[in-house]
């Protein structure tokens, strides 16, 4: 128990500090509430509107890739430190680990995780390109009915 005494002391001090702070601010602080003071605390600028955009999922995938590499490094560091002692067994283990890891990475990249921007898919152009399609047949003008400047434009 003796070795835990500092931890217990620290815990008691931390609890005391919290309680004393709350009690002191309740007793000493002047009470002049305003709208800004009563709002829940958030750092940064107060948002004027709700965020309308959807969050692009590609950021999420890149973050996952980042975590993957982090994990790999976490495993490689201890190996690097005790490489001598682990010998060839450790070396081949790391090769196997890296190979499996690399297979996962190849899979993710081949499925297009790093293709940034809008997806370009190859499409057959037969339906899109033909002599019948002109500007007037493919573009429908909407919302122009009854507008005053229609004739002017």
């Amino acid at each position: 128990m003796g070795q835990y005494l500092p931890v217990v002391c620290l815990m008691i001090l931390a609890i005391l500090f919290g309680v004393v702070s709350f009690v002191a601010s309740r007793l000493l602080a002047p009470r002049r509430p305003s709208a800004a003071k009563q709002a829940p605390y958030e750092c940064g600028i107060v948002p004027g509107r709700e965020l309308p955009e959807r969050f692009p999922v590609s950021f999420y995938i890149v973050a996952m890739l980042f975590v993957m590499f982090d994990i790999e490094i976490i495993f490689i560091y201890p190996y690097a430190v005790s490489r001598q002692e682990l010998g060839s067994f450790g070396f081949w283990e790391m090769i196997a680990f890296t190979a499996v890891f690399f297979a996962a990475f190849v899979y993710v990249v081949a499925r297009g995780a790093l293709d940034w921007g809008p997806v370009h898919k190859y499409r057959r152009l037969d339906s899109a390109v033909s002599a019948e399609r002109t500007l007037s047949s493919t573009i429908r003008r909407v919302g122009t009915e009854g507008r005053l400047d229609e004739k002017a434009a």
Partner: protein, 509 residues
């Protein structure tokens, strides 16, 4: 497992003994990577590759079964993995589950328009995790297998991205499964603190050492937490709440995979931990397992009666089957280390139940039609008029699940109840038989809908059912196994009797 760097000696690795694991692992990785490069493979090919890998691993396991019969069991990779009949029986069960589920999944994915290699890759990785659990001889290795299995299953549960129910099932399973993993891990930590090791051999021998007497409460809390963690995975009451929602929401073939491979691996792990590593504390855990078994049996069979969705009914029936297998664990808690009486019947139960549940869910997947939504009891009405053979197959599966003689389900239930009676747990055996009767009501309720009721009004407007070829083959194989084992069970009983000879040396009694 933890060694100081200065004293490290590389463990020798017997690659052949690990072959079933490696076949599935390497095969799964190669399947995923090559499939990601190449355009969509011709139809059936992903599934056939998975079935081929499952069968290859099963053949290797059969060869190893005979090798073990000849040379005896042993421990591998620095005593972390055991190579014995128990492992091989579990591996064969998992491979059967994997292959049959892949056959059902093939048609399902095409119908739902989500064809791709990912599901099969996840199946293979989940099977690898299950095999690691079955073979483990160390709590850390067991945990690794458990997580590999569970994480694959979380993703599989949510794999139908267009259905909100599937998403809901995935997130529910993930949150509760992660919670139970935390329990399990805490249990490992406490057992390590109490016995000084995570290895089953050392945990077994630590019981005789003097300092343990002081730390016994630490071990007991650890044992309790391990039971909670694994109880979640096998969906034993009162840790079963996730099962109905997840089984109902997941894509139907995935439910079949979960109920067969997931349950078999989790139960095999339960037996490994409690019967092989912790038999010295059996007087402490046996009463808890007794209560769990009774709760699971009653909750499973009584709650199933009031359900109206067939997938949900089958989830509750799966809970009650878990109760039956827990009876085997309770019986093993009575007997000495050399007999381990409940273990063979429970392993046999797992194999038989895996086949049964995949067959049942295969029929449900066909009846569910496009969208996988028509799984309420009403959708099964009049099935016998539309698809008499499908209705017959469903009848065989449900009667077998109820435990009717001349089907495999009878052999399974008889085995565990016989084990309980042999160990004089008469109360448990009686309650098991009563709950089997209550459970029979549920199966008969489905069968009445199938055979005696007319089709729902408006049913003729719905898309016609059709039985695709590989699902049909899977159902046929399941029916064949169910009836063959029911009529001629000796070979399976004899094979399962050998699983008691595990690789860990018998210490004490």
């Amino acid at each position: 497992m933890i060694v100081a760097a200065g004293t490290f000696t590389a463990p020798s690795i017997d690659w052949f003994a690990l072959a079933p694991l490696l076949v599935l692992l390497v095969g799964g990785l190669v399947l995923l990577v090559t499939a990601s490069f190449t355009p969509q493979w011709p139809k059936h090919l992903y599934a056939y590759a998975t079935v081929a890998l499952g069968l290859a691993a099963m053949v290797v396991a059969f060869v190893q079964w005979h090798a073990i019969t000849r040379d005896g069991p042993k421990l591998l990779v620095g005593n972390a993995v055991s190579y014995d009949h128990f492992s091989m029986f579990g591996i064969i069960t998992i491979c059967i589950g994997l292959s049959l589920s892949a056959m059902v999944t093939d048609d399902f994915l095409r119908r739902e328009g989500m064809e791709g290699p990912e599901i099969y890759g996840l199946y293979l990785m989940a099977a690898v995790g299950g095999i690691v659990m079955v073979m483990s001889n160390d709590l850390i290795v067991l945990f690794l297998g458990l997580e590999t299995l569970s994480i694959s299953l979380y993703v599989l549960a949510a794999s139908n991205r267009r259905r909100a129910e599937s998403q809901e099932a995935g997130i529910k399973y993930f949150v509760l499964g992660g919670f139970s993993s935390a329990f399990f891990l805490y249990g490992i930590a406490l057992i390590y603190g109490g016995t000084g090791s995570t290895n089953f051999n050392r945990i077994l021998t630590a019981f005789d050492s003097v300092p343990l007497q002081r730390k016994d409460s630490l071990v007991l809390v650890g044992v309790a937490l391990l039971l909670v963690g694994l109880g979640f995975k096998v969906s034993a009451a009162p840790f079963h709440f996730w099962a109905p929602d997840v089984y109902q929401g997941s894509p139907t073939p995935v439910t079949a995979f979960m109920a067969s491979v997931g349950k078999a691996a989790a139960f095999a792990a339960l037996f490994r931990v409690f019967v092989v590593a912790l038999p010295n504390w059996k007087d402490d855990w046996r009463p808890v397992v007794w209560v769990l078994a009774i709760l699971t049996l009653l909750v499973g069979s009584i709650s199933a009666v009031v359900q109206t969705n067939v997938k949900r009914m089958l989830a509750y029936s799966s809970i009650s089957h878990a109760g039956f297998i827990l009876i085997g664990l309770e019986a093993a808690g009575h007997s000495g280390a050399s007999t381990r009486s409940g273990m063979p019947s429970s392993m046999m139960y797992l194999m038989i139940y895996s086949v049964l549940v995949i067959g049942t869910f295969a029929v449900v997947a066909v009846v569910g039609r496009t969208g996988d939504g028509a799984t309420d009891l009403g959708s099964f009405r009049g099935l016998s008029r539309q698809k008499p053979w499908l209705a017959t197959a469903l009848t065989v599966f449900l009667l077998a699940q109820a435990g009717v003689p001349l089907t495999s389900g009878f052999i399974a239930k008889f085995g565990v109840i016989e084990a309980a009676v042999d160990e004089h747990s008469y109360a448990l055996a009686t309650i098991a038989m009563v709950s089997a009767v209550i459970g029979a009501f549920l199966y008969l309720r489905i069968l009445i809908s199938v055979w005696l009721a007319d089709a729902e009004v408006g049913d003729e407007k719905r898309e016609a059912m059709h039985i695709p070829i590989s699902t049909g083959a899977a159902i046929l194989l399941c029916v064949g196994f169910t009836i063959y084992v029911g009529v001629n069970p000796e070979w399976l009983i004899q094979a399962s009797d050998r699983v008691v000879l595990v690789a860990v040396p018998v210490v004490g009694g």
